[in-house]
């Protein structure tokens, strides 16, 4: 397992390299001059050129890339163009809120989604199935920012149950993770429903019944594990989207996470921060894929043992 993981991780390096080049080209292709944006509207040309010199933005692109890569490889992500703060500081403070947010979203989305999926599958084409389907499809039809705003209006302003946002207590995370998880929950519910339905048609489920097992064992032990294998893959992919897609939720709920950091950095063309963030996104995406594969192996002995 360890060697496999290592192998996979090493295989990631070229990908990261490609990503870094693309990212670099891409963000430099986007119009907008960070020097001008930082300097502000009333800046003089001299001032702007000074900033460009200081940041090395007057160098040819390839030179900038080499410098950047050199520093990155040395573990120096540089300083934010906009605030002058070390990029590592910025990342350090914004990663955890996003990680918590996504983990919590994922957790409840998985639990509820699987539950709905299972109930839907067991009561296939009966009313619990219809209700489950409706709930799950509704979950993916609501715009996230809208759901967030409504939740705040109802649960914070009207009822005063939970804080409107921030990251002060675990209670601050309730609404954001509800909002963020809604779509994923729906996805998982739908995938687990269809994969459960498929699994329930398998021969070994019939075998389990032929043994005289009770229904909950048939479903819970024999069908669920097998469906999980497929659901995990979907959930893993979604996880990547979660991390990247938390921008809106972080904005609505004032969570100082990497999503918001990214938006801000993009708006100000804070190249160093964007580059670092994108490498993190890429690495995270790859890591999650790897994790999914490993989990896949844990759940699926065929892969684990052969």
């Amino acid at each position: 397992m360890g060697r496999y993981a290592l192998q996979r991780l090493l295989g990631v390096i070229p990908l990261l390299f490609v990503v870094s080049v693309l990212v670099f080209l891409f963000i430099h292709l986007i119009p907008g001059d960070p020097a001008r944006l930082i300097a502000g509207k009333d800046a003089t040309l001299d001032e702007i050129q000074g900033i460009q010199r200081q940041l090395g933005l007057d160098q040819p692109l390839w030179r900038q890339y080499i410098d950047y890569m050199g520093n990155t490889l040395r573990g120096d992500l540089g300083n934010s163009i906009r605030s002058g703060l070390p990029v590592t500081d910025l990342l350090g403070s914004s990663i955890m809120p996003t990680v918590w947010l996504t983990l919590l979203s994922m957790a409840w989305a998985l639990i509820i989604g699987l539950l709905i999926g299972m109930v839907s599958a067991v009561y296939h084409n009966r009313w619990p199935d219809y209700v489950g389907t409706l709930v799950s499809i509704s979950g993916m039809s609501i715009p996230g920012f809208w759901l967030g705003l409504v939740l705040i209006q109802v649960f914070s302003v009207e009822l005063g149950w939970v804080p409107t946002g921030g990251v002060d207590t675990w209670r601050s995370y309730i609404m954001p993770s509800l909002t963020l998880g809604a779509g994923i929950m729906s996805m998982i519910a739908r995938y687990s429903r269809s994969s459960m339905l498929e699994t329930m048609r398998e021969d070994y489920v019939r075998t389990a019944r032929a043994k005289g097992l009770r229904e909950y064992l048939v479903v819970g032990r024999h069908a669920l594990r097998n469906s999980l294998i497929q659901v995990v893959t979907v959930a893993g992919l979604q996880f990547g989207f979660l991390l990247g897609g938390s921008v809106m939720v972080e904005t609505v709920f004032s969570i100082p996470g990497i999503g918001r950091l990214l938006v801000d950095s993009i708006l100000y063309r804070d190249y160093t921060v964007i580059q670092a963030l994108l490498l993190i996104f890429a690495a995270q995406f790859i890591l999650i894929n790897l994790l999914v594969d490993l989990l896949y192996g844990v759940l699926n002995p065929k892969i684990r043992y052969s």
């Binding site: 398998e202 070994y204 019944r209 032929a210 005289g212 594990r225 065929k302």
Partner: protein
Amino acid sequence: MTQHLLEVEGLKTEFKRGGGSVTAVAGVDFHIRKGEVLGLVGESGCGKSVTSLSIMRLLKDTPGKITGGSVRFEGTDLTKLSEKDMRRARGNDLAMIFQEPMTSLNPVLRIGLQLTEPIMLHLGYGRKKAREHAIHMLKLVGIPRAEEVIDEYPHQLSGGMRQRVMIAMAMSCNPKLLIADEPTTALDVTIQAQILDLMKRLKEEQEMGMLLITHDLGVVAEMCDRVVVMYAGRVVEEAPVQELFSNPKHPYTKGLIQSVPKLRQKVRRLESIKGNVPDLSQMPPGCKFAARCPFAMEKCVASEPELIPLAGASERKSRCWLTQDEAVEGGDRA
């Protein structure tokens, strides 16, 4: 008359399909005695599996439903049992082996768990004792390294081994009746020979009744005491195995036996039954075989003959107008 182990009478199973429903099994009668192997043969789709699933009441996840007849097992009608009582019987008195050893075992659970499930459930053994019993069963079906195999996953075993595991599982609670639905069809001949050998041996040791479903007449000839031939959801002939092969009565049975290429038979051309099995949803009114029957008469197309015991032989029945005259006078018509 002595009580049979299993008595199936007028069993009828329908499937919902589209708007209406089709009758996959349309009034099947047969019986199995203790220690007897009954073969159930017939073409694909004639209702063999549905019959066996109906007996086990395993139609839950299909659109199928038993709509008539009775399945008496040691006197009790299984079709009338509550789901709970039926669960108690399944895996215990009645065990089943399925055709596909590759897919009938749960790929993500260890052999041990799957084997001990029915043992703990029906025999009430503890985990440890159940495991010992499971190992014993694995040894019984001739699996080498039983102690290791029990902790492995199905995909680590070959097809033949898996089918042995399935057999061990089915036999683990000393069933009185074993239903084997094409247990060797998916296996290679050399492995099939091993498995058939094993089943024969076990059957003799355990004294249980067996319903062996197959389309391979060779297997029937080797394994069975009596044979029931099905066609289009109906029993068309029933006979002791020797007589079936030496003197088939129903034209379908005849055609079937003649169309099988036999080793060292050296015929230029094979006989064959023309045409195809009729579609379940569009059954002709008369004899279901009439359209393919070389001896079909007008009568055959018009009305369907009944399954009638034949005179001169014990336990012979046939569903054909041609053999009606051989019928036992005043015999107990089904």
